[in-house]
């Protein structure tokens, strides 16, 4: 018979047991994560007429705005190898996969507060369901993106088979950052209030609507930005260009893998303390 003991001691006291617990809890969480993702995916557009088209409208709007800004000469963006429309549209869509993934952990955990406060369930399910939902939305966006790219005269080559991997990397990196923000973000809402502002700024330091500057401080900032290689590689495999920054792409992924491992442990240990503060 399974015996559970609750004491005030830190749950991280015996680190050797943690990997095993994580694996068994993730197993236990899979079913729930799937159901929660299904719930959120079904619910997100059910009360709309246009349904899944809403997944791409923001990206279309952003593209339209930047095409206008560019053509009107308000801001002049360096020449891109791709048609600028494809550059901006793909950039915006790829960025949205990343930024959805950043937002998901806090958003989903906050939304689950009533459940967290009253029911004991594997908390990992919340994060995993967020990943599922972001992945689902990203697949829809990517499908529309490919169609749009073809219509605009881009012919993807065989390297497009790596697109899923590139998209996963974006989601994975976003989840890692979002997960790191979640514990404090659940205590202080400053985090969720600041996040949209920071993300907006962050986007302009990533090759989404601008290209990587040729030199100067801006170039260093762009290259130091971990999302830069992820977006660049994803765009390159989509459009059939030889992928740049491939080395950076792999080191960012490796680094995120280490960080998410740590953040996963932190999230698990933090939840009971956060639940204590979130409800009465």
């Amino acid at each position: 018979m399974k015996t559970t003991i609750y004491t005030p001691d830190s749950s991280l006291r015996d680190l050797s047991q943690i990997p095993g617990k994580i694996v068994s809890d993730i197993k236990a969480a899979r079913e729930l994560a799937w159901q929660l993702a299904l719930r959120d995916i079904r619910a997100q557009y059910r009360q709309t007429l246009l349904g899944f088209l809403w997944a791409v409208f923001p990206a279309l709007a952003n593209t339209a705005i930047w095409l206008f800004i560019q053509s009107a000469g308000i801001v002049s963006v360096q020449d891109t190898a791709l048609p600028y429309a494809v550059y901006v549209f793909s950039g915006t869509i790829l960025w949205s996969a990343f930024s959805d993934a950043v937002n998901a952990p806090i958003e989903k955990t906050v939304a689950a507060k009533p459940m967290l406060a009253k029911i004991n369930f594997p908390h990992e399910a919340i994060i995993i369901s967020g990943i599922y939902q972001t992945a689902f939305n990203t697949v829809i966006k990517a499908a529309i993106l490919i169609v749009a790219a073809v219509l605009l005269g881009i012919t993807p080559d065989w390297s497009i088979v790596f697109l899923p991997l590139a998209l996963l990397s974006l989601i994975f990196a976003g989840t890692t950052i979002g997960l790191a923000l979640t514990p404090v973000g659940l205590l202080y809402t400053d985090i969720s209030k600041a996040l949209p502002l920071v993300m907006q700024f962050f986007m302009y330091l990533t090759p989404v609507v601008f290209t990587i500057p040729a030199d100067g401080l801006a170039k260093i900032v762009f290259l130091a930005n971990p999302v830069t290689p992820l977006i660049t590689v994803a765009r390159d495999v989509l459009t059939g260009y030889p992928p740049e920054l491939l080395g950076l792409f792999f080191s960012v992924n490796l680094y995120m893998l280490l960080v998410i491992g740590v953040m996963w442990v932190v999230y698990r240990a933090a939840m009971p303390i956060l639940i204590e503060r979130m409800s009465a």
């Binding site: 004491t7 001691d9 299904l38 959120d40």
Partner: protein, 414 residues
């Protein structure tokens, strides 16, 4: 020990009164947890904190049902949340053997825009049921909830009672070793309540250890064999449920603040606080439901009064607002001179009331005008519980069975 499924040893929990401080302590606890500094040495209260639960110990064995009772804010729910593993204790140790099922937030995880059917799967997954298990039990769930024709309707169009019914129908599929219940039986209509009671009974029979939190003493006495009474976080009493519940009932002190106890209309009659006497004429503050009791109310005349017809009103009600008695027969009050005094006595052969505390008001009304002359309000008398019957009255019925006697049985099977 092998039979003990729940073991709680010296468990405490502190809470903080103000939000800003509470959040800051949250950050500090978080740091301590992550740097592995957090342990049971942490018995000091920080500024602004109080003990929501203090040094509570008890055990529940297989098949036992424990009633957790106490006034609002006494720490019952906090204790239950620790048992459920939602929050960590600040001191002590909790051992739970077996799977824990909690009937606490029915329909948690429901999304209002999704249909009943979709939500059954979500609620089931939240409770740890797999999709396959729910597929198998789906028909049973729908039948139990009696919502077959609404399964394709969004849950936002359900009444709150229907939502709870659906939530309970899913939760009833759990097969736990330990069941935690928090004020659950107050929901749904009578028909549904029967079902809920039977589900809990069935689990009880199969050896599940149960903890019930409820303010409803009828339910507590219906299910529980043992109980603990907590007040301000501390354990006041534990033991057989009757002992615990009667101490709790006697302890509920509700003082009605903000108005004068004795009021009058200025026509001269002024009444004092009532006293209660037993059959020997001794003043008592506690009576038995099957014993005679006399209520004496002293009065004084602040003005000369003529002989008049009066009606005596006696209002006996309990803290739930149930009324036991009101007007008595009209009679004659002989009146008298200013400064004279006397006693109005009301004799009751058997009180019959079985509530824990009664509030007795005695009033004098002019007859037939029906104007209130004087009123002695809010006199409290406690009633000792004598049996497991926790009804409002002790009717002392007799029963027998005439086996074989033919009479049609009307009844609703649910």
């Amino acid at each position: 020990m092998s039979d003990t499924l729940i073991k709680v040893e010296n468990v405490s929990k502190k809470f903080c009164r103000t939000l800003k401080r509470s959040l800051w302590y949250g950050v500090r606890d978080l740091t301590a947890e992550l740097t592995r500094q957090r342990n049971a040495e942490n018995r000091e209260l920080r500024s602004g904190e109080f003990w929501a639960v203090r040094d509570i110990s008890f055990e529940v064995k297989r098949g036992q049902c424990l009633g957790l009772i106490g006034p609002n804010g006494s720490g019952k729910t906090t204790l239950l949340r620790m048992l459920n593993g939602l929050i960590k204790p600040d001191t002590g140790r909790i051992t739970m053997r077996g799977r824990v099922g909690a009937l606490i937030a029915l329909g948690a995880g429901f999304n209002p825009i999704l249909t009943g059917r979709e939500n059954v799967y979500i609620a089931g997954a939240v409770l740890g049921l797999s999709t396959e298990e729910i597929d198998k039990k789906y028909a049973e769930i729908v039948e139990f909830s009696e919502l077959a024709e609404f399964m394709e309707t969004p849950v936002q169009n359900y009444s709150s009672g229907m939502q709870v019914r659906l939530g309970f129908a899913v939760a009833a599929q759990m097969e736990p070793d330990i069941l935690l219940l928090d004020e659950i039986l107050a929901v749904g209509d009578a028909r549904f309540m029967v079902k809920c009671i039977n589900v809990i009974r069935r689990m009880q029979r199969s050896g599940v250890a149960i903890i019930i939190v409820s303010h409803n003493m009828t339910n507590i006495l219906r299910f529980c064999d043992i109980g603990i009474y907590v007040k301000n976080g501390a354990l006041m009493k534990s033991g057989p449920i009757l002992d615990v519940s009667s101490m709790y009932m006697q302890d509920i002190e509700v003082t009605v603040a903000g108005h004068e106890q004795n009021v009058h209309d200025g026509s001269g009659l002024v009444m004092g606080p009532a006293s209660f006497l037993d059959s020997m004429g001794n003043s008592v503050d506690r009576v038995l439901p099957d014993q005679p009791v006399r209520i004496d109310v002293p009065y004084r005349l602040d003005a000369d009064m003529q002989e008049i017809q009066v009606t005596i009103g006696i209002g006996i009600n309990d803290y739930d607002g149930v009324y036991y008695q009101s007007m008595l027969e009209p009679g004659l009050f002989q009146g008298g001179r200013k400064g004279e005094s006397g006693v109005l006595s009301i004799a009751i052969d058997e009180l019959l009331a079985a509530s824990g505390s009664l509030i007795v008001g005695v009033s004098v009304w002019s007859h037939p005008e029906g104007e209130l002359l004087a009123w002695s309000r809010d006199n409290e008398i406690k009633v000792q519980q004598v049996s497991r019957n926790n009804g409002r009255v002790e009717l002392k019925p007799q029963w027998k069975i005439d086996h074989g006697k033919q009479e049609e049985v009307h009844g609703h099977v649910s």
